[in-house]
Symmetry: C2
Subunit: 430 residues, 2 copies
């Protein structure tokens, strides 16, 4: 019974399980895949990763700006004004929105509206309701301080201040700020190219074949969305048959044109062996076996400086190994800061969970969030077999259970991690 | 000084401020804009709003599935097995992954691998490590219970169970589940068409003109991203000059071909009057003035059954009125459930905030989130003038301060609301 022994070899091979952090620290220095840089119009760079720190080229507001409708003046001219002896200022002009320029002389005032830039020399604004307006002179009945009713130049952004950082996903509000400051072009990383290879003769993308008994390659679909949420391009989605040459060819062409390769193991006998054998043969580094459950049969290889991440075939394992290995590796390639990958939401457990197996591993429990009346979240654990698709599809995030912990109590406060690919498309939390 | 009185009229007009909830309850019943429905391949519907509840057409797994590598058998055949008197089962075949069919007879066993479907009549699986394998008979040394080592049919999804709901944003994991269940097409809402009209002679989209003193129309850019995050299409982005005919024409053509119109008021004198005058003239409902700060000059009109939401021109007000009025109205048009619009994150305040003005309004304080060493969030308030762009651009979310509350203490636990358009593109939270 050769297939039993083949199967046994597959499991026997993983004799050692590694901390995910340790794996990352070994893999990252070996990665030589680096996307090139692009200069693009700032507004079309929204959602891309900035490749440079950007200092503000000017102040915002560029000049002192009026906070009210009224009259721009020199504070020193109002110093002696009082109810008993008002000071008259001659109205020398009107400032139109967006205009700058003009110079105020001693004893003058300029009509100005909210948002208007003060003329050179002016440092205060007298609100229109404070003066008896009319004609060409306005009378001031108290002193106005320097910068009273003024939004000072540089109070929003100071020239030279770093307003956007290398590694940051460019948000639209930041792009707007940059363009307002005259930064019309930014340097961003080209989207890294990612190949997704699904292994297994039993897989298909064709509904008709699925109806005849083949297995629909939906894991690749899920993985492709996760990849895109990380600002990467999927350049290849292939189903690779269980033949050594096919496996070798698919890996060769992917390594050639991609920055990162994700393999998804099928469930048929021998497929992981084929991939593992091929990768072990050609890689600079090969690690399989993670202290992560579900996900322990996941691994990573580096071939020609390109990371090849082995995602196991059961959906919980596929997704967990993506989150713990592929996402940080892609973030490294993008030089994207890691804390942009997940959002942490606090919730209280609605059910207790007992975790008896793989006690010295990190365990991952997927949960559905529901909003209580008081606006706080409750977490409903979706404990299921690693092959269970519905439990992942109704989850909003996951809890990381640290090694050694075997029980999560009812009512316990937990931190639910919501990966970027879920926050982009929040499922119902009612 | 006619422009002063014009300006005064603009503010004087808002004599009454309305609760946002009250405004929504008046507007929503008057909306007759309804996007049509589309049938699309499930996998391309990711990110769209489902227009129907979807019950599972079959069980998942469709048949009993093996949880281990071993031998499928009938539990009744193993009832009398013991170490002293093992029971021999004849190996009648092998189940290949994805295959179904075959029937087990009394005294038989089928070779099976993890994920394989049990043949008809089999209800248990004997793990390969339990038997002395070899040849055509396997010996069983204890009884195996019904469903032992079996993932029962329907344990992932039960036929008839509603697995996706009307109003839900289709996540990729849900799309994968649906396709796995044979649901290859779903009915979704067509993306609602939204027009964005920016009013003001001082606005431009041209960097060269901006350098000569005009104001770059970046608010429309921000609003367009917010609109797209809500599964809507931006079909028009126009800068409309401060002329009554131009205003009237822009509104007419937008009402004709859009499901919703968003106007952005400029900062120049009279622009809100032009828009307000035109809208008041032709609308079934016109409300301006919100108990929301920044944002109190925002409003909404309904013209020919289409909502026209008036976003004020200062960026904090623009964004707040979008979140409080436009987002729920777009969600209503999409029949999307409201709790998909924001994610709530708990944080502790890193600074106290005093709010002296507009005490009986809802006030909005934007904050930057930073992760502490213990993995919890701290909220850094970005208190600034409503025109301040950098404060919004570095914020991750906002705190809603209820009417009457005037102080947020240092260390206070607050709920930070992260709108969908930010979660899609998380800025740095380091």
């Amino acid at each position: 019974m050769s297939d039993i022994s083949l199967r046994e070899r597959r499991y026997r091979r993983i004799s050692q399980f590694h901390d995910v952090e340790e794996v990352l620290s070994q893999v990252v220095p070996k990665i030589r895949a680096k996307p090139s840089l692009l200069k693009v119009r700032t507004r079309v760079a929204v959602g891309r990763i900035l490749a440079e720190d950007i200092p503000a080229p000017r102040n915002l507001p560029p000049f002192h700006m009026s906070h009210v409708d009224g009259f721009a003046a020199r504070s020193c001219d109002t110093e002696r004004a009082s109810e008993d002896s008002p000071v008259g200022l001659s109205v020398a002009g009107t400032v139109r929105p967006g205009e700058s320029g003009g110079r105020i002389e001693a004893g003058q005032a300029f009509r100005i509206f909210t948002g208007g830039y003060l003329p050179e020399g002016a440092d205060t604004v007298i609100p229109q309701e404070d003066v008896v307006a009319g004609g060409e002179v306005v009378y001031v009945t108290r002193p106005y301080a320097t910068l009273e009713n003024v939004v000072p130049s540089g109070s929003d952004v100071m020239r030279g201040q770093v307003i956007a950082k290398k590694g940051e996903v460019l948000a639209v509000t930041k792009a707007s700020l940059l363009e307002t400051l005259g930064v019309y072009e930014v340097t961003v990383s080209e989207a890294p190219r990612v190949s997704i290879l699904s292994f297994g003769d039993e897989l298909t993308d064709d509904p008709a074949e699925a109806e005849r008994g083949k297995i629909l390659n939906t894991h690749a679909l899920t993985v492709s969305e996760m990849v895109r949420a990380l600002c990467c391009d999927v350049v290849r989605m292939l189903i690779v048959p269980d033949k050594p040459e096919a496996v070798s060819d698919a890996i060769s062409e992917s390594v050639e044109d991609s920055h990162c390769i994700l393999t998804i193991g099928g469930s048929s006998v021998g497929d992981i062996d084929l991939v593992g054998t091929e990768l072990r043969r050609r890689s600079e580094l090969f690690i399989q076996g993670l202290k992560l459950q579900p996900g322990r049969v996941g691994g990573v290889a580096v071939v020609d400086g390109k990371p090849v991440i082995m995602l196991p075939g059961l959906i919980h394992s596929t997704v967990n190994v993506f989150n713990y290995l592929a996402a940080p590796i892609l973030a490294h390639i993008l030089e994207m800061s890691l804390n942009q990958l997940v959002l942490n939401v606090e919730a209280s457990m609605n059910e207790s969970v007992e975790l008896q197996r793989w006690l010295n591993f990190k365990r991952v429990v997927w949960v559905t969030l529901r909003i209580r009346g008081d606006g706080k979240y409750e977490a409903y654990p979706n404990v299921a077999d690693a092959s269970n698709i519905s439990s992942i599809s109704k989850s909003h995030g996951f809890i990381e259970v640290p090694p050694g912990k075997s029980f999560i109590s009812l009512g316990e406060r937990v931190s639910v991690r919501i990966p970027l690919w879920i926050t982009r498309c929040l499922a119902e939390t009612k």
